[in-house]
């Protein structure tokens, strides 16, 4: 038996583990949005005056370079309030210049608790690996790049230093949703996206957790004398018309309750804003580069109207 174990360990397990470790190392070396944003925030948190969080709606919808002051887009695709809270909490103590926190809240934001166990749960590991998030410390699925396969092509490109998986620009804006790339049937995506974002049953405990997390972020902003803009990004009518009225009202009521509760919070609900024309959309619930410029301008005007000093 000793012979079997020694041969298995030496000839199979050790080379295998070594190979896996090397693949993990090279996969982690490939720059991506998560590693980039974490590094940027680690180096520049102190100088940010407008911080934007949120999911893909904000990632492709807010272009920080169009603000009149230093801003950064820390949104990621499928980022939930839980991970907004995580990123905010990680860097807030270093954000000495923070004046405005833009906190996008979408139709489904309050009713889900992270991409875990959904079709987007492969993104969770990026928070663990690149942001150092410890929510799932002992789950290999949420801590290893190789968990989704060794991806030899990517490893090889990484060894050759050819790989770069960043899709955001230097200020974190997702610049890949362009009008020219829009699919022909973009309007039809509204119904499926609305269905995907509608909960079969609303779990009040999840909602309460999310409300608590938003409350904690607002409290911290009160402490730092920063303003919070809760933002619902514009959507195309094919998306809006397929939303569940009850869930939508619940979401809007939650946002409004923060406005009533706190002096430093305002709610900018652009869900059905008619300033956004069909050519501002990439699909039924995401903006393209033109829509993003328009949304950022509206945000700037809102900040100006609030009388916040941004020089």
């Amino acid at each position: 038996m000793k012979r079997f174990i020694i041969r298995t360990v030496l000839l199979i397990i050790v080379p295998l583990l070594l190979g896996i470790v090397l693949c993990e190392y090279y996969l982690r070396k490939i720059p991506n949005d998560y590693s980039y944003k974490n590094e940027w925030l680690s180096n520049n948190a102190g100088s940010i005056r407008v911080l934007n969080l949120g999911s893909s709606h904000a990632f492709f919808g807010i272009e920080p370079s169009l603000f009149s002051c230093k801003s950064f887009n820390a949104a990621h695709v499928s980022q939930s309030i839980k991970y907004d809270h995580f990123i905010f909490s990680k860097f807030v103590n270093e954000m000495d210049s923070l004046e405005v926190l833009v906190l996008p809240v979408s139709y489904g934001s309050f009713f889900g608790f992270g991409p875990e166990n959904g079709i987007e749960d492969w993104r969770v590991k990026y928070y663990s690996i690149y942001y150092g998030c410890k929510y799932h410390r002992f789950e290999p699925k949420y801590n290893l790049e190789v968990y989704n396969g060794l991806q030899f092509d990517k490893v090889w490109n990484s060894i050759l230093c050819k790989a770069d998986h960043r899709t955001c620009n230097e200020l974190g804006f997702g610049a890949t949703y362009k009008l020219e790339n829009r699919s022909e049937d973009w309007k039809e995506s509204g119904a499926t996206a609305a269905k995907r974002h509608t909960m079969a049953k609303i779990d009040s405990s999840i909602m309460e957790k999310n409300i608590r997390l938003v409350g904690e972020m607002v409290d911290k902003c009160v402490e730092k004398k920063a303003q919070v803009i809760i933002l619902t990004t514009p959507t195309f009518h094919t998306y809006r018309e397929n939303l569940n009225r009850e869930q939508l009202k619940l979401m809007e009521d939650c946002c409004n309750s923060f406005v009533e509760q706190y002096d430093n919070v305002c709610y900018l609900n652009l869900l059905a804003d008619d300033r956004f024309l069909p050519d501002d959309f990439f699909d039924a619930d995401h903006l393209n580069e033109f829509g993003a410029a328009k949304l950022t301008k509206i945000l700037q005007q809102t900040i100006d109207s609030l009388g916040i000093l941004l020089n």
């Binding site: 199979i12 060794l150 991806q151």
Partner: protein, 505 residues
């Protein structure tokens, strides 16, 4: 826990080391050694199963206990029978009564086990169908319970024990721990092979010995099983799922190609599981029965059924077909018996008309062979002593393969309307360009290649027990080069772990 998961990659070596070093070596002088080792097998198996849902462990324990208990009761009746023989000199009335008792115990155990199976697997189906037939609402009538993984497998295994004890093929065991290990042995607990008590139970009643060659062969078989599952089946699944979910938009030739790919997917998936299970069992000194024997190299459908899911086919043969009279009855009864086993075999897979239709389809293919006495025409291996098959054999193989392909369309579809639409779509052949474009996409090439590798290897090694039985290759470097190539293919194809198709049965 899935065989293709990180959890299992950690679980297996831990269990292996504890099994051989703690429960075999360090406590070898204790009279409890075997029992403790079996108890450890039960514990490890329950952890393996409980990883998915621990609540259903009670169901396995209950099924195990009932079957063990029925054996013990039959033993008691047997003892009474012997006493009565000794004291009364063979009072036939008394003996008949005791025989009836044994029958009653076995029947009760069978009914109880099938009742559990029926409640979990078939109740909602029957209620829904009944309600549809009589236009009744199902509100409040459906149980909507989750189907416990592997329930059909371990239930049938438990039943085989009870029936074999009744038939006197095996002595009932008093060792409850060994019996629980026999039912729950983790490599084959959730997707077979459905073991017979006559083969597996005695192995838990005696000390296992570690054999280097068996363990190495087990490792090879695990590797081959994972290759078939992760490299072949999971890669095929990507395209099969894509086509089956959009079948209304696909051309006839694309639908046919997707059905062919599903044929390889289900084989890779299920035979891959069986190989991994058999290989894992070998590491623990346990020999499980063979479940697949290169079924796609069959020359007729009867041969196909002798090579596909052997443990289930032989189960139905021994416990249903032969008791019904088998083929040694009138032709009308042969027709009945053939339909009974194929329909039951289809229904065993799940509560859906598609499975029943699949069973009926195979019964129709099988009937001409059995009625003309040609069902055992091909019992040897194809192209015996030759590298390549003859032209006639190739034609027979292709015909059998395509008959199986059509069967798999029925099997794969979610409902009968889909089957009809799919077959209708296949008849509208139209242009081949779309399917040519689809299946010659650069990302399709690896999948095509993997299927070819599997077929070539299994053809070359068709007389062996599995596709990686390469102990005759004396050159160690070459052997290890083959292992590493397969490991790299497995790791390269390994993504999010995909569940096994047969888990749902």
């Amino acid at each position: 826990m899935l065989f293709n998961s990180i959890q299992f990659a950690l679980f297996l070596p831990i269990v292996f080391l504890l099994y051989w070093f703690v429960f075999d070596r360090f406590i070898s002088k204790s009279k409890w050694q075997l029992r403790l080792q079996n108890a450890f097998v039960v514990l490890a198996s329950y952890v393996f199963y409980g990883w998915w849902d621990w609540r259903f462990l009670l169901l396995i324990a209950f099924t195990s206990f009932c079957s063990w208990g029925s054996g013990m009761l039959m033993q008691r009746v047997e003892n009474q029978q012997i006493d009565s023989n000794l004291t009364g000199g063979g009072k036939s009335l008394e003996i008949n009564k005791l025989q009836r008792h044994k029958k009653l115990i076995t029947t009760a155990n069978i009914v109880l086990n099938l009742l559990i199976l029926a409640i979990f697997k078939y109740y909602d189906f029957f209620v829904t169908e009944f309600a549809q037939l009589f236009h009744i609402s199902t509100d409040g009538l459906l149980l909507k319970v989750i189907l416990p993984i592997g329930i059909s497998f371990y239930t049938f295994q438990a039943l085989s024990y009870s029936i074999d004890v009744y038939r006197g093929k095996i002595e009932p065991t008093k060792d409850i721990v060994a019996f629980f290990a026999f039912i729950s042995f983790f490599p084959q607990l959730v997707a077979g092979p459905i073991e017979r008590a006559t083969n597996l139970l005695p192995q838990f009643l005696k000390k296992r010995e570690f054999k280097y060659d068996t363990a190495v062969d087990g490792m090879r078989q695990i590797l081959w099983g994972l290759f078939k599952k992760i490299v072949v089946a999971d890669n095929c699944a990507v395209y099969v799922d894509q086509v089956f979910s959009t079948y209304t938009e696909q051309t006839g030739s694309t639908l046919l190609l997707a059905a062919i790919f599903f044929t390889f997917q289900i084989y890779g998936d299920f035979s891959g599981y069986s190989d991994t299970a058999i290989g894992t069992a070998k590491l623990f000194g346990i020999k499980l029965m063979r479940n697949f024997n290169v079924p796609y190299f069959s020359r007729d459908i009867a041969e196909f059924w002798r090579r596909w899911h052997i443990s289930l086919t032989t189960w139905f043969r021994d416990y249903v077909y032969i008791p019904l009279g088998g083929s040694r009855v009138s032709k009308a009864k042969v027709v009945r018996n053939t339909f009974v086993i194929f329909l039951l075999s289809g229904f065993w897979h799940g509560a859906n008309w598609t499975f029943i239709a699949w069973g009926a389809y195979h019964a129709i293919l099988f009937l001409p062979l059995i009625l003309t006495g040609k069902n055992r025409k091909y019992t040897n291996q194809i192209a015996e002593g030759r590298l390549l098959p003859k032209l006639k054999e190739t034609g027979q193989m292709l015909l059998t393969f395509f008959l199986a392909v059509f069967g798999w369309i029925i099997f794969r579809a979610p409902g009968m309307p889909t089957v009809l639409h799919y077959l209708q779509g296949m008849c509208q052949f139209g242009t081949l360009r779309a399917s040519y474009r689809f299946f010659t996409l650069p990302e399709m090439w690896p999948t095509n290649l993997f299927v070819v590798i599997m077929l070539v290897v299994e053809w070359l090694l068709r007389r062996k027990l599995h596709g990686l039985e390469i102990s005759k290759i004396r050159n160690g470097w070459l052997r290890f080069a083959i292992y590493y190539a397969i490991i790299l293919l497995i790791l390269g194809s390994w993504g999010q772990e995909q569940t096994f198709i047969y888990f749902q049965f």
